[in-house]
Symmetry: C2
Subunit: 169 residues, 2 copies
Amino acid sequence: MSISLYAASVPVFKQMLLALSDVLRKAEAHALDRKIDPAVLLQSRMFPDMFPLVRQVQIACDFAKSVPARVAGIEVATYEDNEQSFTELQQRISKTVALLNAMTVEQMDGGDGKEIVLRPGTPKEKKLSGQAYVLAYGLPQFFFHVTTAYNLLRHNGVEIGKKDFMGAY
Amino acid sequence: MSISLYAASVPVFKQMLLALSDVLRKAEAHALDRKIDPAVLLQSRMFPDMFPLVRQVQIACDFAKSVPARVAGIEVATYEDNEQSFTELQQRISKTVALLNAMTVEQMDGGDGKEIVLRPGTPKEKKLSGQAYVLAYGLPQFFFHVTTAYNLLRHNGVEIGKKDFMGAY
């Protein structure tokens, strides 16, 4: 037996983004409770040259929308990257989950052997099969950013746990 | 076309553990260069009630060894969890990569529909298909711990980047 590239990506992204949405809701409530300016959490970083929370969430959504779309060979939705509040981040997550809900197994069928070119035309250009693109590139990148968003909030004292990170499985 | 549960787990775990090994080597060199007691990094935490680096690496290895073994229905190797140095963590990673190298596609074939029981006999018992166990539980758990290990070191000033996290893909 075997699984589809769809199963290895779309439901995983959706599970983790819905969990991230709940985590962000708890973070927002935490800021409100303690009279912390939400921007303090949204702009918090693990280290000065790392991206702040808002960008971590944006990039997690970017991988979730682009990985399945590129395998399917459909246009990747473009976002303006102008979110500045928890509400706007929730909207970005909702938009992304809606895109994932619209994807079908059939659209991604046959994507395994498709060639995906990363950073085309640059010295770092890299060609990957659809399978390698999802498993060896897309999943690690996506998980990096959802985990870093969680860690940033945990580090800032928001009361969340592994259960919140995992979501519904 | 479709992919195997083996492809969705074993090579992914191996890629990320080899990358983690390099990240830990850089962390050890960083400590040596700056005359930092290695234990400071090994015992560092993102928040007082989170696990320290040494435990994050141990747990990442635990998921990498147990997820494929449980799907294959073979015995899960037991580790003593007594690592206290970078050298010992490297040994744990090497042992785990050797176990992954010994796994075959055939061993995990047919695991998709197999029922895996998490936390058996407890109020939190949960039954998952082999496919859900790998994709919705095993991968998120594994990535959580490798990313947190990376973030802990990044937060402590070790000069590593996303490229180090990703490894060879």
